[in-house]
Symmetry: D2
Subunit: 287 residues, 4 copies
Amino acid sequence: MADKNFTAILLLSCPDRIGLVSRISHFVFERGGNILDLDEHVDRQANVFSVRVAWDMADFSISASELNEAFTPLGKEFHATWKIKFTLEPTKIAIFVSKYDHCLQEILWRRRLGEFQVDIPLIISNHPDLAPLAEYYDVPFHVVPITKESKDAQEQVQLELLRSHDVDTVVLARYMQILSPEFVSRYSGRIINIHHSFLPAFIGGNPYKQAYERGVKIIGATSHFVTDELDEGPIIEQDIVRISHRDSVKDLIRKGRDLERLVLARALHHHVEHRILVNKNKTVIFD
Amino acid sequence: MADKNFTAILLLSCPDRIGLVSRISHFVFERGGNILDLDEHVDRQANVFSVRVAWDMADFSISASELNEAFTPLGKEFHATWKIKFTLEPTKIAIFVSKYDHCLQEILWRRRLGEFQVDIPLIISNHPDLAPLAEYYDVPFHVVPITKESKDAQEQVQLELLRSHDVDTVVLARYMQILSPEFVSRYSGRIINIHHSFLPAFIGGNPYKQAYERGVKIIGATSHFVTDELDEGPIIEQDIVRISHRDSVKDLIRKGRDLERLVLARALHHHVEHRILVNKNKTVIFD
Amino acid sequence: MADKNFTAILLLSCPDRIGLVSRISHFVFERGGNILDLDEHVDRQANVFSVRVAWDMADFSISASELNEAFTPLGKEFHATWKIKFTLEPTKIAIFVSKYDHCLQEILWRRRLGEFQVDIPLIISNHPDLAPLAEYYDVPFHVVPITKESKDAQEQVQLELLRSHDVDTVVLARYMQILSPEFVSRYSGRIINIHHSFLPAFIGGNPYKQAYERGVKIIGATSHFVTDELDEGPIIEQDIVRISHRDSVKDLIRKGRDLERLVLARALHHHVEHRILVNKNKTVIFD
Amino acid sequence: MADKNFTAILLLSCPDRIGLVSRISHFVFERGGNILDLDEHVDRQANVFSVRVAWDMADFSISASELNEAFTPLGKEFHATWKIKFTLEPTKIAIFVSKYDHCLQEILWRRRLGEFQVDIPLIISNHPDLAPLAEYYDVPFHVVPITKESKDAQEQVQLELLRSHDVDTVVLARYMQILSPEFVSRYSGRIINIHHSFLPAFIGGNPYKQAYERGVKIIGATSHFVTDELDEGPIIEQDIVRISHRDSVKDLIRKGRDLERLVLARALHHHVEHRILVNKNKTVIFD
């Protein structure tokens, strides 16, 4: 990071008390940082203070590598959970897919356009079908087939791949397998899924069929962090589309496809721009 | 109906077979009716044909009162469920409310504007709070208090009121009581409710609180026909609004209020324009 | 303001420079104020910094009446445009109407529900039609008829009414007259209008007819501050609704009515919660 | 078309009169056709009747090749404009592009998924940039560079390419050149464009910059048939997305990109399913 044209982003949450914004902004100011963006939120019911501060590192008096240590005393005093990220360091993500291409293509295409600040060292799939798409976008594609018997062992293969590529975040882009609790806890708060319903409606399998049978007039898609409880993790983003009696299940799948890829892309965008704080089972999105 | 400037509307569903549109449109044509609007739908999975036909009665060779008898042979031949309505005959509705005014006001205001082809002979409430609003719009307001003990007897009072005013349709405009199966079966397919969630998410009480606690990013409202299963009847209309972490339960209630009144108004609009066909637990909306 | 349970809101914009958030939050902190909400925005193209800070006055060391003077040195140093408002002081608004009731009713109804922190000392209309509605909500209603000849004189009558009631903000709730430049400059930045189109499309008269003739698939409504150029002032809020070839001009008017009242209500909500900053011809909405 | 499992689609418009639906549906019925879908619309202001009828050809008594002749007497009697299409005959489209890939990719991807009933014999571009994308989807890519001097001659090259591939419909997928009146008249009603604004707002160049400068809160995209008047042709489909003061022109471009590709895809979907009738400068969309 010899380049000085980058931005530091602090994401912090702690019990609310007087003076937090003042103390934090003063920390930045006294080291010569110009605050580009500051957004805060107080959850009065839970008495939790959350903040995202972005500042210009151009004239900052200490370097990026010293920043964590410099902020630690404040973090301790506030009993805070916090992290500091830099725009020069793209988030390393691995994408998990099965056979559907729409979510994968959306992410790869947006990265090529420069919409996402991400590195994608690898794609992992339990099927070979999407290898040509990965190749078109020049991303290594690893097939790790899963059977009921091989699942445990193959998950170790996946985890080793993630470790060896220093992956930060796992994106489940319509990956049709459920991850083990061990896997989930290893990447806690860093696994993003797209579920093809308007959660909490239609949890589990075949949500479009469920929606068709219930006769709803609107369908949705939900991107959320993965936890041990199926489709119950903190929701990042949702969107919907109107349907009518004219739409068959096949039409719902077609219309839902457009939702899924846009909702997942927006969720990932929030994540890699460090705009998400998780408090218990809910997210604060600083957008 | 001495006035000849009115429209007849046929709503029909039956097992699908060849020639249905031709036969029905010919029935209208040979009696001098000009079809103003025809919309049909075939549910291929269930093999059910549904149609809505509206025609001008100005030069029709038979009168409105003879029409039912004239159409009966066709209806029988097709093994159809059908009804014929006329735009000169506004639907008689009773509105049930408790203490919230927004849905009631919406309906009364729209009727005054001429948006709804309805007569509202009475409003029934278990609380006196909304009497002034009813008075402002010149609609008789009946207070029928409900306690656990009095519920059965008071429902008989309500039913007698409906009967004596020849009410066709009951609108539950945030009426905070559950109707008995007897009441529901008496007005089967003619009780419209507004539920303050995006069904099937958040069935039952306090849906805004449920939504808040789940951390959804979108809330909704659903208007549906009432059946014996709570919040499980055929859905007529739904809509949604985005929320964020900044919104408290109170904000959800405020934002939801706007949804509820619009969604209920649209559902009622479809109903009184005879645009809804119910097939099992789903609706066909000819809009 | 003997009551100490209220909130102070600072709205400020100035040329961007380092340390603004820190200095302002420190000003609040050193007087014992707990910041409840802080949202800022830097327009890098124009190099303009904008901020909204809300803090609890419960334990603040100086009183509301001393606050303006206390902040003045900072405001001067920053070459800022700023104002400080208190939640205990509802905004005094006058509503101007002609014959359409939907926007007026929306505002009066929301105020009664407690959604708006406003006083409405008077309604002014060029027609008597909406007097009963005003009476139902207990708001004085002044008829000031306007003809081409009387317009100048009658505007003086209106201005005198506003002055005598110490009105802060004028809301044009489908008021069908154009205000003179003198009037506009007297209430500069404090006149809110609702235009029944998606500006800048369909400026001027009969926008629904214009939309119908152009064959658009979506119509809109726009709330904006009034300036001397017709329909060209800073936009506060917009929304849209889908239409189809089935919709006549009358349908557009009906559907648009729902937009108009919601969009105007949201704009007014932003205004009375002091969430709007105007920079040249654009608004910053801190929501 | 030896395969009998296909559908015939009649699109017809004519002056309104009594008996049209009956006569047309009888034409289908007496030849053994089962009507799968019938949707009609009467524009009472213009007295124009429009209809779309789809029927199953499986047991139809005459062949597809005889159908035009068989229907001609009815068409003449009704003074109608009409055409009959078959689902077995995919529409032949040529896609024109410049350097932006999003709209092209959207169409090619959806065709591969089977969403579109189209053949794409060629892509024409004035730049070579998108050749790899065309190659990935196996579609011939022709570079026809345009300069002010060469424009007339190069358009002849384009027209010859279209002719030799028997192209029915031209899709301008962010093609940055204006077509000559000759070109437009050659493919009248069969050139579909995507304009990156909510027409009629922001006609012409740089609509996102125009939107940014006007300070709108919503941006849009519009797909329309091309006529000789720039951005004034019949609108097929529009959609919008909310923006805020936080969005730079670059953000509008990013958010608008998602609109453009979806709106163009939906418009093309309507077109190739033969759901669009054009009456003067407006469309009827049978969806």
